[in-house]
């Protein structure tokens, strides 16, 4: 008897799901294909960033969707592997996705040509190729966030401001992860060295980057720079913070680029107490002071659920997820407004992305101005400082040396 009861429940459940499926099919929806990495090399980011995106889509859907359309998302974990990413892409395409987000530099690079062939607009904030800022050459790839080149330029500007507005004769150390992404800001910084006349020394940290003691000693004992630009990934930012601390170098003279800038890096270095003073560069606002985060918490409260834990544990990655999802929604909104509410195509959404302007989500998103020729949206960053147990704004949204960055984008053909 009990078994048949269980079977009945199962059947009822299956029917419910089937019904829900058909009901959803009648609803007008826009499909977003989302790749994620919750298990691979960068899972520490993915486990926070991807739930954040879902939270934002849910928030939008709970509020009635976008212009009468619900947002449908399908997430596939690509394990930071190229074949998985190719399979996931094809599957999303088959399911009718008109907008995608890729995850990871090699996957973005590998799928780039397909995007163009399939007219599939795709965002890749913080991943992929700096040259993709040029929308005329990479028409369907949208870095959206500041590229490594913009970050390098902004970092130099930030250092200049901190050192009293003149870099002549000052010493700057650039410590970086020894892979192509780590090398990427170098040409910009070297160009600026000529212009600003500072002394530059570079220090490579070979993968996997957990051992940075030698480089840090070299920097702090021999080179003794006035400021350090830190472009490390994964485990190495926290290792570097620890070592700087041990060497007695003031962390208020270190600025970490965007992948050396999250709460998890600070926690792994021994907590906010240890990293007091450390500067962290962001392409989405950090911390909790944004209305959209409170809306999401309210949404959870209404449903009687606990908000996602990572929301407060790692505001940096969470907010980056929000930025990405919000840009998607905004693009869909623009596309629907422009085409009069028809089912949008990939080309519509591309135009929608390219008309994103003056959309800041209460300060969480920089003043992006995406244009057909500029898929980066201006290359805005904001520097935060570790102060009293959290990230505190140290600058406004800023960008710098655009001529140098633009020249690099042009030259990379």
């Amino acid at each position: 008897m009990r078994r048949s009861g269980g079977m009945l429940a199962l059947l009822a459940g299956a029917m419910l799901v089937a019904l829900a499926g058909t009901a959803a099919a009648q609803q007008k929806e826009v499909m977003i294909g989302m790749q994620c990495d919750r298990t691979g090399a960068t899972q520490i980011t993915g486990v926070v960033l991807c739930p954040a995106m879902h939270d934002y889509y849910n928030l939008i859907n709970a509020g009635g969707g976008v212009e009468g359309y619900k947002i449908k998302v399908d997430e596939i974990d690509n394990e930071y592997k190229v074949p998985s990413a190719v399979e996931a892409y094809q599957r999303h395409k088959q399911q009718g996705a008109v907008l995608m987000t890729l995850y990871g530099t090699p996957m973005t690079v590998a799928l780039n040509q397909r995007l163009e062939e399939d007219h599939m607009p795709t965002t890749s904030p913080g991943f992929g190729i700096s040259a993709a800022a040029d929308g005329t050459r990479y028409p369907f790839l949208f870095p959206v966030a500041a590229t490594y080149w913009s970050q390098g330029a902004a970092a130099v500007q930030f250092v200049k401001d901190k050192l009293g507005g003149n870099l002549k004769g000052k010493k700057i150390a650039y410590i970086f992860y020894d892979n192509p992404a780590g090398h990427e800001p170098l040409p910009i910084i070297e160009e600026l060295q000529k212009r600003e006349g500072f002394e530059l020394r570079t220090f490579a940290v070979p993968p996997p980057g957990v051992e940075v003691g030698a480089q840090v000693l070299d920097i702090t004992q021999r080179f003794r720079p006035d400021f350090i630009i830190d472009h490390l990934f994964g485990r190495s930012p926290s290792a570097a913070i620890k070592e700087f601390k041990r060497a007695g170098y003031p962390l208020s003279k270190v600025v970490g680029l965007v992948w050396a800038a999250s709460e998890s890096d600070i926690q792994a270095a021994g907590g906010f107490g240890v990293a007091e003073g450390y500067y962290a560069m962001q392409f989405a606002g950090a911390g909790d002071d944004y209305p959209v985060r409170h809306q999401i918490k309210d949404m959870y409260k209404k449903e009687g659920k606990e908000p996602f834990k990572g929301m407060d544990e790692n505001t940096v990655y969470y907010n980056r997820g929000l930025l990405q999802a919000a840009v998607h929604v905004e693009a869909i909104r623009n596309a629907l407004k422009a085409n009069g509410g028809k089912q949008p195509t990939g080309d519509d959404i591309k135009k929608g992305l390219e008309s994103i302007r003056g959309f800041t989500l209460g300060g969480l998103v920089p003043p992006l101005e995406i244009a057909p020729a500029d898929h980066e949206g201006g290359g805005w960053v904001q520097v935060f400082q570790v102060k009293g147990g959290k990230f505190v704004k140290a600058t406004d949204w800023m960008r710098a040396y655009r001529d140098v960055v633009d020249a690099a984008v042009k030259k990379s053909e």
Binding site: G13, I76, K81, Q90, T105, V109, L111, N112, N179
Partner: protein, 355 residues
């Protein structure tokens, strides 16, 4: 391969050497070729063909690695790097000289073969786990070189864009076109391997694997044949790299890192060492299993998890299931899927009158 036979007694050397032991074998192979070359690309959707494409690329690499590991008994965990050698050779030839694919594919293979032969030199002195470490060093050195020499890597992000291959002025763009393109090389690889193994070189490889001292005593030049094994195997790896490059449209060093070498090693071990069919089984298994486990979890996961947890559970469970199934198949049949397949065949060969 896919047929039942009994009472086959070979009475001549020619029969022993024959590629097809029975006429039915020929027909079975022809039927399979028809199924995969004509029917599959016409009937399957784009998504399924894209999965087949990934399998096809993996087949070439797995066949190559099996020549080295399965037939010659040498180990290599540097095959990912050999693939990148092929990929970057081809990418540079295309960007600088606009070379067509029928030049870049052999060129990428030959370049990888040369480097593979150099890496194989330590195999003359060391064996087993020691050789594994030596080839690991090759993986790291090649990766480092590609990363730090802009002349090879093309500068930004160490990646070079490559236009898709053209045939008679037509660019191969769709998944189905690329499928046939890749299939051509897979067939070449299978036929090449099958004949290589029946040749003097192949038999020397097997002799070295079974007992290298004995092989030397019967007059096999171990020095030469071990290097041949490395070169041929790396040639396949290089071709895999080029095919990968054409398929994706870009050469990028991160596609060929250490994990890729390990994946291919897993393919030949799971599929079955020293067998062509095993390499193919392995390529299919390792490529398809993660996809199938995800399909399964997406369809039935709601039985075990709430919707919210499911998103987190799928990728993690998928890894656990994948690992578990690999262990399961290796425990059930340590000699790989190929042996499992033969056991099934042997059972049905005499079915229903087994005695």
């Amino acid at each position: 391969m896919f047929h039942r036979e009994s009472g086959v007694f070979k009475t001549s050397y020619a029969a022993e050497m024959a590629l097809y032991p029975l006429p039915i074998a020929k027909w079975a192979v022809a039927a399979f070729a028809g199924l995969f070359i004509v029917i599959a690309p016409l009937t399957l959707g784009e998504y399924y063909i894209s999965i087949l494409n990934l399998i096809l690329i993996a087949c070439v690499g797995a066949l190559g690695l099996n020549i080295l590991v399965g037939y010659t008994g040498q180990i290599s965990i540097g095959h990912g790097a050999f693939m990148s050698v092929g990929a970057y050779t081809a990418a540079n030839l295309v960007t600088h000289l606009h070379a067509p694919f029928w030049i870049t594919i052999p060129a990428g293979g030959i370049m990888a073969a040369l480097i593979g032969a150099v890496v194989g030199i330590p195999s003359l002195r060391i064996k087993g786990i020691y050789l594994a470490i030596a080839t690991l060093a090759a993986q790291l050195i090649i990766e480092w070189t590609i990363n730090h020499v802009p002349a090879i890597s093309g500068g930004v992000q160490a990646s070079i864009q490559v236009p898709r291959p053209s045939l008679f002025g037509m660019q191969l763009r769709t998944q189905a076109q690329l499928y046939l393109f890749l299939m051509f090389f897979v067939v070449l690889a299978i036929v090449g391997t099958a004949n290589l193994i029946r040749s003097r070189i192949g038999r020397a490889f097997i002799a070295i694997r079974d007992q290298d001292i004995a092989a030397e005593i019967i007059g096999i030049n171990i020095f030469r044949y071990k290097l041949w094994a490395f070169a041929i195997s790396s040639f396949y790896a290089g071709v895999t790299g080029v095919l990968y490059t054409y398929y994706l449209g870009i050469a990028n060093y991160e596609q060929f890192q250490l994990t890729v070498s390990i994946d291919y090693l897993a393919m030949v071990i799971i599929g079955g060492l020293g067998s062509i069919l095993g390499s193919i089984f392995g390529a299919v298994f390792v490529t398809l299993l993660p996809i199938l486990t995800r399909w399964f979890l997406e369809d039935y996961g709601w039985l075990f998890f709430s919707q919210g947890d499911l998103l987190n559970a799928i990728p993690n469970l998928r890894l656990i299931l994948f690992g578990g199934l690999i262990i399961f198949f290796l425990v059930v049949e340590p000699e790989g899927l190929n042996r499992l397949w033969r056991n099934i065949r042997n059972y049905f060969r005499v079915w229903p009158f087994s005695y």
